[in-house]
Symmetry: C2
Subunit: 460 residues, 2 copies
């Protein structure tokens, strides 16, 4: 007789893993199906390895900052091979700990590809054959993968995607990054610290196109000062390996014939695509939209008894958003969450130096529905901790509607430290008076957030 | 005819300055009397210069951490003279900006010593003679100064207090720190990074005696591993300059004859004392307690129309507490604050590496009134950002009463980044469910706070 699982989770990234753990801990009979590695993109070839690179190399950035103000001298060398090996060990240890946690809670972990086999059953094809699971509820948390376009397809030689880049045995001396979004900018920063000359190419007219335009401007200023070659508003015809080089050809425009850029390596970071194909979800009535995002209703249901969380539903491609949605789904299964899913303000962080933090609405978004929007700002240069770290470029900007904070954006060294507080403040919709009455510790960089909240407001 | 000020502020440190700025910006006719330098102890010889030292030298600590895990090699030298000059320039620039702000707002800035001359008048004796001011309200914000005891009195040669230490032209190669509290530990860390061999002596049986005993233990472990000589539970007979050395004599005990410790310099950091003498406050009915703290009622009044804020009232010797009290007093003068002063949870931070954060109640405090107290913990080693910075020692600990968070304590690299969020969470008294439903950004060190909030609870 076959076991019926209360919950079968398809995908062991942040959303799927957290759902499986919470469901099992709450007494639900749970199985987790993972086609590749526990931890998903985030742990294995996304946020975590990138943060390990940035963390290990931040000493280089700090030395540069203190050298610039003539307080420190010296040199620091990061052994890239040692860093890669440390990264790989960390990832392996984390996967092992995750597997142990699942085992401890009695979650059945099935390595293999899952595919719908019937209304309430999933076939899992693994290395050692196939199994069929029956479920009461299915949670699809299959995540996303790097996007590729014609002419912009990583060939795995000198042209790589983020996964390939993180696996490089040596850091190239020159790097072309196609795509000036989060992924491209974080990896470019790590590469820059490790000695690579950086060229960034993007079709958009600004870096970090999802951010406030003032943030894009600030990033561009900092990176240009570091000697990066930044080509914005240009289109790429192709990027290919030629001998020992990656060769990128810019589209011929009215002004210029198709210029060629050469580097030792090219990283294609032009977005991500949902992993929703070949799962047989259509047979359950699941609908896809855009490049394949699973459509979900207000309760994250994609079809009766089928939930979808994380990147694959396209709501917000962030690990913590996936985990938050997963918590909601398990709470629903336990009958503890009654209403529609509410993400609350979702913090988004670009790591590196500078960092970018955004939570809630940006000025343009806030204005979209015709309401009066005010903004207030504080510059980091006035902050003693920014001064202590000789990293004074950047600002905190608050967006106000009807006298309440609706969004907070910041750019500068270490501004991610304000993320949780900013989320709580935006969620609570503080007034200026509430900010004035709250005790921010002194001296902290966080006082820049206080200064921005208390600064004079102006029209956005 | 004499002008009568709505508010005369005695002391231009964080509390006094903020009060003067807010009062003037709100339309009150305001004067500020400062006997020494604008910014008080915090800016001129306290938190700010210490943080400039720690900020400039954090690169040394980061390099040590990455070297230990064999990812980085290199050497960094901080030019102490350059750092001192940068510190002095920063402090001077900040003072200048403060003076400009006062001028802009029309605050009369009077350099000199203030002393009560009558029921509503203050005589200010400055370098160029004396003036008498009349006031409707007086705010005493005269702060505190380093404490000295018989045998433990800085002689300014090889034995210095925190003010003298911050002014040293060169960092000594060996340093005895008398006092294992915040000030001693922060300065010792900066000195250690700059190459000094550290000996710490304290009469208490543990470092950072105001903190959770687990925190003290963690600090001791880290500092001992760094090679510090830590002598706890010992009493000092004397510390004096002898020739080119500071010589500290330990009190003879049952076990040992008075051992002598020698170093190039000794820092006496045995607490602080309020600046409440010679102000003539007694004539207004102001009462003092303990070592001279001004007694205040629930509305921070020390006598009719006389408020006292900051270190001098002894409630909480922290700059941000002074500023918060100052805001309350101005709100009262404007008739906007009706009830008693409520500090809310006061965050306290020890800087360096590790850092210590405390907000709300510690377990022992929470148990004091006989209530059932639970604690939950998360270790930093499980956090990917702690791993990325190769600084994995430390933990976050939550204190629970009646199912709600009553206090948060953390020790470890960069834990101060959780301070504002922890304050908001303790103020709101989150339940475990509220923590589970809140979206913490991933990956951040702050997720250790989430992990601690969600960890299994045990009896304290």
């Amino acid at each position: 007789m076959t076991t019926t699982y209360d919950l079968v989770v398809l995908g062991g990234g942040p959303g799927g893993f957290d759902a499986a753990v919470e469901a099992a801990a709450s007494g639900l009979k749970t199985a987790l199906v993972e086609a590749a590695d526990l931890g998903g993109s985030c742990l294995n070839h996304g946020c975590i390895p990138t943060k390990l690179w940035l963390g290990a190399t931040s000493v280089i950035e700090e030395l540069a900052a203190q050298s610039k103000v003539r307080v420190a001298t010296g040199q620091v060398t990061v052994d890239f091979a040692a860093l890669q090996s440390r990264k790989d060990r960390h990832i392996a240890a984390t996967r092992k700990a995750m597997a142990q946690r699942l085992a401890q809670l009695g979650v059945a972990l099935l390595p293999g590809r899952g595919r719908i086999a019937g209304p309430k059953s999933l076939e899992v094809v693994g290395a050692e054959g196939s199994t069929t699971l029956t479920f009461r509820t299915l949670l699809v948390a299959t995540g996303s993968r790097p996007a590729a376009f014609p002419g912009l397809t990583p060939d795995g030689a000198r042209v790589v995607d983020s996964t390939g880049f993180l696996a490089l045995p040596a850091m190239p001396k020159s790097l072309i990054v196609v795509g000036g979004g989060f992924i491209g900018l974080e990896m470019a920063q790590a590469a820059h610290r490790l000695g690579a000359h950086i060229t960034i190419v993007d079709a958009l007219p600004r870096l970090a196109g999802l951010e406030d335009p003032e943030v894009s401007k600030a990033l561009e200023t900092v990176f240009k000062r570091q000697g990066w070659d930044i080509r914005l508003g240009v289109k790429v015809t192709s990027v290919v390996t030629q001998g020992e080089s990656a060769v990128l050809t810019l589209q011929t425009s009215a002004e210029a014939a198709g210029e060629e850029l050469l580097a030792e390596c090219a990283l294609v970071a032009v977005g991500r695509r949902p992993n929703s194909a070949d799962l047989g979800l259509e047979s359950l009535g699941v609908e896809l939209s855009g490049p394949g995002y699973i459509k979900t209703d207000a309760t994250l249901l994609a079809a009766p008894d089928v939930y979808a969380v994380g990147d694959v539903n396209g709501r917000m491609l962030l690990a913590h958003a996936a985990s938050h949605q997963a918590h909601y789904v398990v709470q629903r299964l336990l009958d503890k969450a009654k209403g529609a899913y509410d993400s609350g303000p979702v913090p988004s962080i670009l790591y590196g130096s500078p960092e970018v933090l955004r939570v809630g609405l940006m000025a343009e978004e806030a204005k979209a529905d015709g309401e009066a929007v005010l903004v207030s700002r504080a510059q980091l240069i006035a902050n003693p901790i920014a001064q202590a770290h000789a990293s004074t470029q950047g600002f905190v900007k608050c967006v106000w509607r009807q006298g309440r904070v609706a969004g907070i954006t910041a750019v500068g060294a270490d501004v991610s430290r304000m993320a949780v507080a900013a989320s709580l403040i935006v969620r609570a919709g503080w007034t200026r008076e509430e900010a004035a009455g709250f005790m921010f510790p002194h001296p902290t960089l966080d006082e820049s957030l206080k200064a921005a909240l208390l600064a004079d407001k102006e029209a956005a």
